[in-house]
């Protein structure tokens, strides 16, 4: 292989990106060396097993990926703004819509939510950490390295271009030669390991590590939503693992699962992909529902309306989300019986979600509402998500779907679900729990600008796409003719897209502004309205052991109960006992490095390199197994000092 085949060449956009990536890396290396931060980076972050720090790392990576996926989206919108545009060629456009979809779902939405779950859930249930802190670090590093492997395709070897769904035979060797599609398969495979481990980890954490008195039906709604999400992850991700592995066998080892030769069945890929893909929709939307429930309840100063209905709705979704997958390919031709059955199951699954909308409305009813930015995002969610939901029911009707299928109507629908559901929740949750992570709030005034610019941009971007879809504009096309008459609405949509980009920049500015000027919090209850245990910590940012003394829960909304009973949250000196905590470990970091070597080798079909990487992974597993790793104790003196208790 020649160097000009190895690196992606010929496109000025990519040369520009090469230069900016190079400069950023040099800048970071210089900063770390000049300010002598290497030691700090290694001991405080790269080897940490603390759920709060891992959560912050997840969120930081997700914001980075939101930027990458967002730039992809804007490039697409520029190309589509005018008819017969020459801005991108068809191959480049295909690559960008593939990476946009994949990155936004797998490397932005999921890690953002998992990051918030990491930060909040152990605090919310009164635990010191997750059940398997070391495994948590492995989860983060495999996700991170999977994301990096996928992103490397952009400058080395070429990006995948078969769409985020990677339908066969398009994604096969004949129509997608080269390493691009292999990056998709291996990047997702490695990141998927991390997601599955997260699922197991948080299931056990929520089931076994709750503070005394917190029965299942006293758990906060967000904890419940995380629990249900983890159940779906545990049973859905193995399906993706297998589907990706089978396609990898097709591409690398000449198997015939989905190929046209050897009697393979290309439609089976779509079937397996959506068997995972539909539960995946609920994986990214249930935690969002959980967060909105917390935020709406907090800022309405009322306990959540219909708590048990909310929980049962989610439990039903856990099983039901596995029984609707065929609605993603009604037009494949499985016959009227199959389509009718899945049409009905799809319409039924709208009911539990509808129940929740009413729960949120009734929670606000007669509440004393504070219109903070997290609350604004939650209100924006309700309005916009209903549009996504109603158009979803339209699409659920198989016969009607034959008209909507593969048009911009569908594109607009799922952006209304995923942006209004997941992205709004990520912003709302990030702002809401920001003081828990960093000890200060994001500026509210700038935050309101972000909200309004983003919301207007979002609707200006996607409402025209509903109309374009009904007017017959197909999705996944890189250009269209002037005669189609779609130019004006597309231009409008592009303007909306750029407004969202502007909102993102204001958000980034808000990070900087608030870091410099925001008032530092003194108490754990930053908003003054906290209802759940994460707001009951003594300092704004909880110490690494979270709670000096494990709290006891007497009711739902435990902090409200404690406030009512005038409980002094400051621990008593006599109650302080040493605390057992897990050791930091560099092994997960090295394990992920070996995963990268293995993945990179397989992408280019350099099997020796793949084997070297996998041997490395096994060595790290063995090192871990033989390490007695019994953790250490935080001394009473250190706790007293941290809690500022004087003798």
């Amino acid at each position: 292989m020649k160097w000009d085949e190895f690196f992606v060449t010929g496109d000025p956009l990519i040369y520009g990106a090469d230069v900016s990536i190079g400069l950023t890396v040099i800048g970071i290396l210089f900063y770390l060396t000049y300010f002598k931060k290497w030691q700090w980076l290694w001991t405080e972050w790269l080897t940490t097993v603390d759920h709060k720090k891992l959560g912050i790392m997840y969120i930081a990576s997700a914001v980075l990926m939101l930027f990458r996926g967002g730039v992809d989206a804007l490039l697409m919108r520029v190309q589509l703004a005018t008819p017969d545009s020459k801005f991108l060629d068809s191959q480049h456009y295909n690559e960008i819509f593939t990476t946009h979809g994949t990155i936004m779902i797998i490397f932005m939405a999921m890690p953002f939510l998992i990051g918030l779950i990491n930060v909040v859930i152990p605090l919310q249930i009164g635990a010191r950490d997750v059940a398997f802190p070391y495994l948590n670090a492995v989860s983060f590093w495999t996700f991170f390295i999977g994301a990096m492997l996928f992103n490397v395709s952009f400058v080395i070897g070429g990006s995948p271009s078969a769409g985020w769904t990677s339908y066969m035979p398009l994604a096969g060797n004949e129509l997608s030669p080269g390493p691009g599609q292999n990056y998709y398969l291996l990047g997702l495979q490695i990141a998927g390991i991390g997601t599955l481990l997260t699922g197991i980890n948080f299931l056990v954490t929520i089931l076994k590590m709750r503070a005394p008195g917190m029965t299942l039906f006293r758990m906060p709604v967000f904890t419940w939503s995380a629990l249900i999400t983890m159940i779906i992850i545990v049973f859905a991700f193995p399906i993706l693992t297998v589907a990706l592995a089978l396609m990898t066998f097709d591409r690398l080892f000449g198997a015939h699962f989905f190929t046209l030769q050897g009697a393979g069945m290309d439609m089976l890929w779509a079937n397996l992909f959506w068997l995972w893909g539909h539960p995946e929709v609920y994986i990214v939307v249930l935690p969002a529902f959980g967060m909105f429930s917390e935020i709406i309840s907090t800022f309405s100063r009322k306990t959540i309306f219909g708590y048990k209905a909310m929980i049962w709705a989610m439990i039903i979704i856990a099983g039901y989300s596995f029984m609707v997958w065929v609605h993603h390919f009604f037009t494949m031709g499985s016959g009227e019986l199959v389509n009718s059955v899945f049409s009905i199951t799809t319409m039924i699954i709208g009911i539990p979600t509808g129940i929740k909308i009413f729960n949120w409305l009734f929670t606000m009813y007669k509440g004393k509402i504070s219109f903070t930015t997290p609350m604004l995002w939650s209100l924006g969610f309700i309005v916009n998500f209903v549009i996504g939901g109603v158009t979803g029911v339209m699409l659920a009707m198989a016969a009607a779907d034959y008209q909507y299928h593969n048009t911009y109507f569908l594109v607009a629908h799922f952006h209304y679900v995923l942006i209004a559901g997941t992205v709004f929740a990520c912003f709302a949750g990030l702002i809401f729990w920001f003081p828990k992570m960093f000890g200060y709030k994001l500026n509210e005034r700038i935050g309101k600008w972000v909200f309004w610019v983003f919301n207007i941009g979002f609707n200006v971007c996607f409402i025209p796409q509903f109309i374009l879809g009904l007017d017959g504009m197909p999705r996944r096309v890189y250009t269209y003719s002037a005669a189609s008459g779609w130019g004006n609405l597309n231009m409008l949509s592009t303007v909306g897209g750029f407004l969202m980009g502007v909102a993102f920049l204001i958000l980034v500015y808000n990070f900087y502004f608030s870091f410099r000027y925001s008032e530092r919090e003194n108490t754990g209850d930053s908003w003054g309205l906290g209802r759940t245990l994460e707001w009951s910590t003594t300092s704004a940012v909880p110490p690494h052991y979270n709670f000096a003394i494990t709290p006891t829960v007497k009711s739902f909304d435990p902090l409200i109960q404690m406030k009512r009973d005038n409980v002094d949250l400051k621990p008593k000196i006599k109650d302080i006992k040493k605390i057992h905590m897990p050791d930091n470990s560099g092994v997960p970091f090295f394990m992920s490095a070996f995963f990268f070597i293995a993945g990179f080798g397989l992408v280019f079909e350099w099997f020796w390199m793949g084997i070297v990487g996998l041997i490395g992974v096994f060595i790290t597993l063995i090192i871990r197994s033989f390490d007695p790793n019994e953790g250490y104790y935080v001394s009473e003196e250190e706790i007293k000092e941290t809690e500022r208790l004087t003798v």
Partner: protein, 139 residues
């Protein structure tokens, strides 16, 4: 069985009867599945139903007799055992959805347009769509 103490006190004895019985029943079920498949001459459909029931029974034997699925790690609470059992039951439900769902969806409708059939017999079989496979004896 839900309490580890019970099972342990039972295991103080020398011969682990639970395991021996589980092993013998497994062998019997395997032999029965073979007999049903090759010696009975039932219709294909009946054979498949019976041998899959045997497979699920044998899996249950392993889970209950060998793997202590219902056993709880805590002394007072049965929650862990119930969680383990619920987990496996839900997994079985998902397994049935994945396998039966995929086979159904992938053989309905578009199978009529499928040119990869190995012979006309299987073609007929799939077109019927209801697993009508009563042809031939299987001796």
């Amino acid at each position: 069985m839900a309490n580890p103490q019970d099972s342990l006190s039972r295991e103080h004895g020398g011969i682990p009867w639970k395991h021996v019985i589980g092993y013998l029943l497994s062998i019997i079920l395997t032999a029965l599945a073979l007999w049903v498949t090759f010696e009975t001459g039932f219709s294909t459909r009946t054979i498949l139903i019976i041998i899959f029931i045997f497979a699920f029974l044998q899996a249950a034997l392993q889970l209950l007799m060998f793997m202590h699925m219902t056993e709880s790690s805590e002394k007072k609470s049965k929650l862990t055992g119930q969680t383990q059992t619920g987990n496996i039951l839900f997994a079985a439900f998902i397994a049935i959805v994945i396998v039966a769902g995929s086979v159904w969806v992938m053989s309905a409708g578009h199978a009529e347009h499928d040119h990869h059939k190995m012979d006309s017999k299987t073609h007929d079989m799939k077109m019927d769509g209801d697993m009508k496979m009563d042809h031939g004896d299987h001796k």
